[in-house]
């Protein structure tokens, strides 16, 4: 297999790699949409779409063969996305008259492009000849660049429809995406500094090594998944929040807030053009899920255990360790675990959606600029101190430096907060206090006047 692919023309090889990334994620989209609808309805105590595709054969008809009489064929509503697609395809395609035609028709395509191009540098298995599409030296920067292009589809859709609600949705979205891009870049910079590489394939290779700062006897069977290190956990949480904001999902779905903006930037889009926006959103969600699992949660390995190391260390159980290593993802199962991790991220998205209420706009901006960006910057400083302390001293000095520097940064943050709040009205939470004041008794003075004669 490897030989056959490596002897093809480079252009054909690149084509194979791109097709192997795009086609499976396209095929997964209906399943993701079905999963979102079913899971959301279970969480909201509804049943959800569970009927499409079910066939109940007649008990009495002569047209049904005897074997199938009265049998039920269940599909759990998995055909629902197909039915939705058919409905969207045959719906009347309404184009408003006062639009900017060229931009109106290209905006859905522009929205779809970055969603599929984003994972171009993400490896989904230990096959260097099949993945990633381009193993360039700037992989993480490429992800940042392409994800920042996602705003164009939304902004242009909002502008071209010539509708004030669409325009407001587009404006909100551009401000939101720029704000959260910064914190996202900062959180990725921590990972890049810690692993010392911009290539996702090398980051995954580092993640499959021994745990950072714990490379001693009882702990060295744990893999260095970035989420298991303190800085990685913080960076992962920041990245998770930012990626929900970047895909315009609840609770950050202000660009399409129904109660304020009709349907936001896609108010004037109907039929297939709306479906393209819909597909772009779900593809971006899955893409971000793959990126998060590659950069933080150990790539294509299922559990953070170095079975190859264990096989070397305890050769008595060598065969068992080797079998577990094969199951853990160093073989054909690697893409399966990647897809499972991506779908788990989608589940997290849905869970967040039905748990948290939508943020107010000033809360959204305050979260991005006042909380996530300082936190990500502090995290970057802590990682830098850790790297230097580990290199100068040993890992225990590194751990001590991390704890001390994190405590100092937290103290500085609290002090700044206290100074800021000293003489300022707090606008982050507003409330009205209703006081039942007793009615004022009005005293009427009776003045006796002399009767006029």
């Amino acid at each position: 297999m490897a030989d056959f692919v490596q002897h093809l023309h480079p252009v054909l090889q690149a084509l194979i790699r791109a097709v192997l990334l795009v086609i499976p994620s396209l095929l997964l989209l209906p399943i993701i949409i079905w999963w979102e609808r079913r899971l959301l309805s279970w969480m909201q105590d509804r049943i959800g779409p569970n009927r499409v595709g079910n066939i109940t054969f007649s008990r009495t008809s002569r047209l049904v063969p005897g074997l199938l009489k009265g049998k039920k064929f269940r599909l759990f509503g998995l055909a629902q996305p197909l039915a939705d697609f058919g409905k969207l395809l045959f719906k009347e395609d309404i184009t408003p008259s006062a639009i900017d035609r060229f931009i109106y028709f290209t905006a859905p395509a522009i929205a779809l492009f970055p969603a599929f191009a984003m994972c171009g540098t993400i490896p989904w298995g230990p096959y260097t000849f099949l993945t990633p599409v381009a193993d360039v030296n700037i992989g993480v920067l490429y992800i940042m660049a392409v994800s920042s292009l996602g705003v164009y589809g939304i902004v242009l859709a909002g502008y071209s429809a010539n509708n004030k609600f669409s325009l407001m949705g587009g404006l909100r979205s551009s401000a939101q995406l720029i704000s959260y891009e910064l914190a996202m870049g900062m959180s990725l910079a921590c990972i890049v500094m810690a692993t010392g590489s911009l290539k996702p394939s090398e980051i995954v290779a580092v993640e499959h090594g021994p745990l950072w700062g714990m490379d001693i006897a009882p702990f060295n069977w744990i893999e260095n998944w970035n989420i298991l290190t303190p800085y990685g956990l913080v960076a992962c949480m920041i990245f998770l929040i930012c990626m929900v904001a970047e895909t315009n999902r609840a609770p950050f779905d202000l660009p399409e807030a129904e109660n304020e903006l009709v349907a936001g930037y896609h108010t004037e889009y109907s039929s297939m053009k709306f479906a393209v926006f819909f597909m772009g959103e779900y593809a971006a969600m899955f893409g971000y899920g793959l990126i998060l699992s590659t950069l933080f949660v150990g790539g294509w390995h299922m559990v953070p255990v170095r079975f190859a190391f264990l096989a070397h260390e305890y050769p008595a159980f060598g065969d068992i360790w080797n079998m577990l290593d094969t199951l853990n993802g160093s073989s054909i199962l690697a893409p399966v675990w990647m897809v499972v991790k991506g779908l788990l991220m989608i589940t997290a998205y849905i869970w967040i959606r039905c748990t948290l209420p939508r943020l107010r706009y000033d809360q959204l901006m305050a979260l991005g600029w006042k909380s996530l960006l300082p936190l990500a910057t502090a995290n970057l400083i802590v990682v830098a101190i850790w790297i230097v302390a580990t290199k100068v001293g040993n890992q225990w000095i590194g751990w001590a430096a991390v704890v001390v520097s994190a405590a100092i940064l937290y103290g500085v943050y609290q002090a700044i907060n206290k100074l800021n709040k000293k003489d300022r009205v707090d606008l982050t939470s507003r409330s009205i206090v209703l006081v039942d004041e007793p009615p004022k008794t009005r005293e009427i003075e009776l003045v006796e006047r002399a009767p006029t004669a």
């Binding site: 900017d100 030296n137 700037i138 660049a145 705003v151």
Partner: protein, 179 residues
């Protein structure tokens, strides 16, 4: 196999360069030719994007991706944001009347182009593609750029970052009435 036209071999690289560079030049014309401010800004976006592709073909991936991150992803989004916020409506108000200065401008522009071209083209035609050496393969990569930024150019780099910080503080000072 390769045909030559006027002493220049027609290679796939040249064809790709011709396509991308031609499209970039068309977009650059579109920036000044469109009446609609949004369309001009979009042409600039596409132009920056194609320039990034030109950098990619020159093996300068870092430069190309920085171009996309900084210009296409951040600065042009802000441009679009401002244009939409101001909502420059009727484009026919922006059309200039006929002006003799326009023709004079075109004439002077062509003269400038000929002058620059006559000086630059003979030099450019002499350049051959460099042979790929290990040093050249690393040139322009993130490691090389990082190393030179933090060794040889560390003072200018820090000075620029302080300058940007001053810019941020100054803009906050101007925008907020009450600090």
């Amino acid at each position: 196999m390769n045909q030559t036209v006027g002493g220049v071999a027609i290679t796939p690289e040249l064809l790709i360069f011709g396509g991308v560079a031609g499209a970039a030049a068309l977009c650059a014309i579109g920036v000044v030719a469109f009446n609609n401010a949004i369309r001009s800004a979009l042409c600039l976006v596409v132009n920056f994007f194609l320039l990034a592709f030109l950098y990619f073909t020159l093996n300068a991936e870092m430069l190309g991706i920085t171009q996309v991150v900084v210009y296409t992803g951040a600065i042009m989004v802000l441009f679009l944001f401002v244009i939409m916020l101001l909502n420059l409506g009727a484009p026919n108000l922006l059309v200039e009347k006929k002006d003799p200065k326009k023709y004079l401008g075109i004439l002077l522009g062509c003269g400038m182009f000929v002058l620059l071209g006559s000086q630059l083209l003979p030099e450019l035609l002499k350049i051959n593609a460099p042979t790929l050496s290990p040093e050249l393969a690393r040139f322009g990569g993130p490691e090389a750029i990082g190393r030179s930024l933090f060794t040889a150019y560390v003072y200018p780099f820090e000075a620029v970052s302080v300058l940007l910080l001053i810019g941020i503080v100054g803009s906050i000072l101007l925008a907020k009435r009450r600090i």
